[in-house]
Amino acid sequence: MFERELVIVGGGPAGMEAATSAHKSGVRDILLLERDQYLGGILNQCIHPGFGIEHFKEVLTGPEYADRVIKQVTSMPEIEVSLRSFAVHLTKDKVLTFMKPGILENVKAKALIMATGCRERTREMIHIPGTRPAGVFPAGLAQKLINIEGFLPGKEVVIVGSGDIGLIMARRFLLEGAKVKAVIEIQKKSRGLLRNIVQCIDDFDIPMYFSHKVSNIYGRNRVEKVSVIKVDDDFNELADSYFEIECDTVLISVGLIPENELIEMAGVEIDKKTNTPITEEVNKTSIPGLFVCGNSFKVYDIADSVSRDSAIAGELAAEYLRSLK
């Protein structure tokens, strides 16, 4: 076991901003853990433009936004970046266990910032019946397959839910030569940003069905088709509206869940409905010196807001460390 002043878990926009902000506030012993092989987090796969308007006063893509923040982090030698480092255990005394290739490490943090982001909601959570063939992907996973792995995971796509990732993936699949047959949204209107409806759906005349749901997924080895049905205001199925769409891929874009299992393990009070820490103040938790920022604190629409709020986490951690002295 070794000791550090400040440990930050997560090298996406939240964790990186918290690190540089803590550094600017005078913290000089910072360990930043990132499970992937590079910094940047989910920004690396968000290749579309629209980032940075608030934070950098210009329009950037996700990787460009990440690049700028990465360069700030790496220009501060007191921030030690540990890649391929996966946090697996946390105690109330802020002893964090993490895995690196070939080794399990324990670090005692005087202050700890968790910037662990979200995971995607899945097909199982919205209870779509049917078989379990290949070809059903959370939209963000499909985004990673195309944009990071260079692999197009389907040719005829139906998108369930109208979250921003789903809308953006509709355009991405289409530009890569796939057919996007429909976006199916159970609510009366989209949950995505208007500009994404315009430039991802309307631009390409993709059929969008509101007040509709996918009632079944069919297929033995691979998805073969889905059935779609209209619902009323109370989400009851309207039987005579049933129709089918042939497809080989179903993308699920129905929201995100903040990843807070580690702080829950440490005894932080968690709101079971939102999976976020119960707190009155931004980035704070029920354990002093343990902070949460970015999408694990609450689900944000825009990376710029994550950067803005995560800077506060860095300041709070610096303030807490000063109070110990």
Binding site: N44, V59, D67, I148, E176, R195, V198
Partner: protein, 128 residues
Amino acid sequence: MIRKLTCIECPAGCALLVEVESGKVVGITGNNCPKGEKYAITEVESPVRVLTSTVLTEGLPLKTIPVRTDAPIPKASLFKAMEEIRKIRIKKPLHVGNVITKNLAGSGANLIATRECLADQGSATQTI
């Protein structure tokens, strides 16, 4: 004729009412900033989009490099531009902003890298 548009310049998504006479914009309301005005004029008279995609690599630590056009290109040329992008293979390390293809699909815009790829930044992600 009045056309209803949603401005896509920022997340606010202002609802624009655009008065059009013989293909030209003669009046705009609903925008909260000057970007909306500019957007409405180009959207009506010659719609353009910034194209983003990825290009494949050979022998580099990242399997793909994300790219974008350095200026908006005509909406009508998006698919032609994608055809060119799909043929590209990157073999040398590059930095953010490096030009990969000049005058992409005759659009006048260049295709540029949006992510750094150095020769020694560690191996690419594991194949899933």
